[in-house]
Each structure stands twice: as C-alpha cells, then as structure tokens.
C-alpha cells in the first residue's frame, strides 16, 4: 500500500490531516461560491440585489479570506512543528540513490557504516529514525508516502530528515524524481517491525553470509564466483567484494528483487539473472544467457538460501 492518505506514522498523519482539512474546506467554499453564482445569475436582479451590498462584498471578499487563510496558516505551522523530531534518533540510516536502486547503510553517529544492504529498509516502530540521503549519479528523490513527505537526493549534497512508523507493516517507497530510463522501476520496501524483532533481524544481517547447506547450493556458490558476479556484488565472507551493485549477503531475506520490481523467489532470481537487460533495460546488470538451465537454478538456490 502506497498512499499519503493511508498514514502509518505521525509525520504522514500530519500531512494527511492537513490534506483532508484543505480538501473539505475547499470543497465547502467551492459549493458556497457556486451557489452564490447561481443565485446571482438565475434569479431576477431585484431579488439578488443583496449580493452586491457593501457588507457582503467586504465580509465575503476581504474578511472571510483573511480569516480563513490566516487560520490555515496557523494550523499548517503548528502541524509542521510536529514534523521536526527533536532529540537523538534511535537509528541513522544512510540511503544512497543509484541508477536504478538504493544503497542502504546503517551508520553510527560518526557516519561509519555498520551494516550494508540494498533496496529494503527495516526499522523499529515508534522511534524517530534519521534518514541521511545522498546520490552517486543523478538527482533521485526518497519517498515513502505512507510515512513521510519526499526529500531529494542530490549529488554532492547531503539531505536528512527524521520520521517514525507507528504501526508495523510493509510500506512501499518510490523514487520521486525522474532519474533515467528505469526510474519507474526504482522502488523499495520499508518494513517497520517491533523492536525485539528488529534487533534479531539486525543481528542476523550483521553476520557474514551463511554457508550453502546443500551440494546444489554449494555448486551455485562456485558458479556465482566463476561467472564473475563478485566483480559487482559483495557477499560477505566470500571472495565476492564488488561495490558496483547491491550487497547480496542476505538477499534471500528480502521481499523483492531489482529494487522493488519483482517478488523474491527461486523463479524470479533465475529469471532476473538470465534476462536482467530485458526486464529492466539500461540497468548495469548484464543478462547471463551463457548459463545452462541447471546452473541457473543452482545460483538461484544459493542466493535464495542467503537468509
């Protein structure tokens, strides 16, 4: 679910209540103006004369807009004060926009990364999280409509804001600034979970990638390394240390593939490896059409097992 009108946290709730106040208010005023217009044009001049009276002109034309707009301004300012979350954030997450995916670093207060992942962000509920937004190439924009407004990721600049999720859930996020051919397929999932669940996830993710548990997966690991996948991808604890593409150390644990584009299962993993350029033309991953069917399945089985 991805809608600014289905808020999942205090930040988005403020935005949603302001939106509703404006929709309903504007609707009522529109109805009032249209009714007055109908009276003025459809009834005979004598009966509509009161509409051109001094009191109506001054009251409806000057006083009413001033009062309404001032009230709206005060309401808006009060709401935007709620949007600024003071104090130390529970967590700092650096998100770097790439064509066409998201590099995700969980960092400490000095900015040093503690955990590297991609295309999926998990946070504990009920605590302010700081998002530090950067870009490695062109301008992107970070947007999780159900949790907060959008904020641009600009090359050479660091933008940051804080927000929280009130309820556990899977929130879809999307690049909100046209960034190239596959902008439309640049999404991610933000998963809000209970603190204890989050801590368990974080501890698991901080470990190196698990070893293959079956001979078929072990064959997949060997093929992954032989085919040069490690030139672009990192799998922690293996010789694969590439930094160009997403970190795959725990890819089997993610809900989506190719930046929120496909569900994550053995079939989509194999299909993506085999035809990445057909599925998302212009992304940096080549299609590996050189693999035998069984080899493709072995690699998918290995990656799917990286929980």
């Amino acid at each position: 679910m991805q809608s600014a009108l289905a808020p999942g946290g205090p930040h988005a709730e403020s935005v949603a209540s302001l939106s509703w106040a404006m929709f309903i208010g504007a609707g009522l005023i529109f109805f009032l103006v249209m009714s007055l217009t109908a009276i003025a044009s459809l009834t005979d001049a004598d009966r509509a004369r009161w509409l051109s009276g001094r009191a109506v002109i001054i009251g409806g034309g000057i006083i009413f807009p001033i009062v309404t707009l001032s009230a709206l301004l005060v309401y808006g300012l009060l709401l935007s004060r709620n949007l600024v979350m003071a104090g130390t954030p529970a967590l700092r997450i650096e998100v770097v926009g790439e064509q066409f995916w998201w590099r995700v670093h969980y960092v400490d207060s000095s900015g040093a990364p503690h955990l590297v992942t991609a295309n999926e962000i998990r946070i504990p509920i009920g605590m302010p999280i700081e998002f530090i937004l950067k870009s490695n190439d062109v301008i992107h924009s970070f947007w999780v409509p159900s949790l907060a407004g959008k904020l641009d990721m600009i090359p050479g600049r660091v933008n940051s804001y804080r927000f929280a999720a009130e309820r556990p859930g899977v929130y879809r996020g999307q690049c909100a600034e046209y960034c190239g051919a596959q902008h439309a397929l640049m999404a991610f999932y933000l998963i809000a979970m209970d603190k204890t669940e989050f801590d368990a996830w974080y501890a698991r993710q901080s470990e190196p990638a698990p070893d293959p548990t079956t001979t078929f997966q072990a064959r997949g690991k060997a093929l992954f390394l032989e085919n040069g996948c490690g030139a672009c991808h990192t799998i922690r604890g293996t010789p694969a240390e590439g930094k160009i593409g997403p970190d795959l150390s725990h890819i089997g644990d993610r809900v989506s593939l190719a930046a929120g584009t496909f569900p994550n299962n053995a079939g989509t993993l194999a299909g993506w490896i085999s035809s990445a350029q057909h599925l998302k033309p212009g992304n940096l991953m080549p299609s590996f059409g050189n693999l035998q069917g069984e080899e493709l399945r072995a690699i998918a089985a290995y990656l799917g097992g990286l929980k």
Binding site: G271, W272, S274, L279, E294, R297
Partner: protein, 139 residues
C-alpha cells in the same frame, strides 16, 4: 390503500418475470465463473479454479520468464511463450501435457526434467492445480 396494493402486485409480477428470464443467464455466468468451459474433458482439472491460478501466476511472477496471455507485464524471454499452451503437446519438450503432470511441473519442474532452468516454485498443491487449470484455458 387499494391503489398501493395493486401497484405492489404489478411490481411483484414484473420482478418475477425478470427472474424467469435471468435464470438461464445466471446459470451461464455461474459456468463461466469456474470457466474451464472451452477446455476439453481430458484437460479439465477437477476442483481447480483458473481465476485463482491466474492470481497465483501473478503473485509468483511467472511472467519474469514467460509470455503469458492474460497476465499483466508477463513478457519474459527466458522460457517459452505460454500462448496457446492448452494446445501444446509436450511440457518443456519432455512430458505429456496432462493435468497431473502439469500441476507437478509448475510446482517442481526439476523433478520431471533435471536439466531444466525452471526452478521449484513456492506454490501449494492446490495452487499448482489452479495454475494448471489456467494454463489449459490458453488456447
């Protein structure tokens, strides 16, 4: 009082005649809902729902590898197009295209063809039968 009574009777009569006319139509719609209508008897999957199969195909994203008529965005080039699949004689070029074989194939293709590129997929037995039922409707 009398007037409203006669009106009531007239309305009831019209409603009844409508219901009579609609009965065969509703029956037809009912058949269309379980929709294995154009499928020959030997390809009907008993108790399976092609519509549920279509939803499962979309959820698992079979379209990442296959062209599948009726599934949005299913334009894959890794495996064969499934257009006209109900007419296909062999599954994956190796096994006869029959309900029980197809239901096994969509869930666990390597158990039938060990060198296939099509992996085991996260489908339940029932979902696999629904998927097979949908594929047989592609004629």
């Amino acid at each position: 009082m009398v007037r409203s009574h006669t009106n009531g009777q007239a309305d009831g009569g019209i409603a009844r005649s409508w219901r009579h006319a609609a009965t065969p139509l509703i029956m037809l719609l009912g058949l269309a809902a379980c929709d294995q209508v154009g499928v020959p008897a030997q390809q009907r999957v008993i108790g399976a729902d092609p519509e549920a199969g279509r939803a499962a195909i979309a959820a698992v994203a079979c379209g990442i590898c296959h062209v599948i008529p009726g599934i949005r965005g299913a334009n894959g080039i890794v495996g064969p197009s499934l257009a006209g699949f109900g007419q296909r004689q062999l599954i994956g070029g190796v096994a006869p295209n029959q309900p029980s074989v197809l239901a096994q194939w969509v869930k666990d293709a390597p158990s039938i063809a060990p060198n296939t590129g099509m992996p085991e997929l996260p489908l339940t037995e029932a979902q696999a039968r629904d998927v097979a039922a949908y594929l047989f409707t592609l004629r």
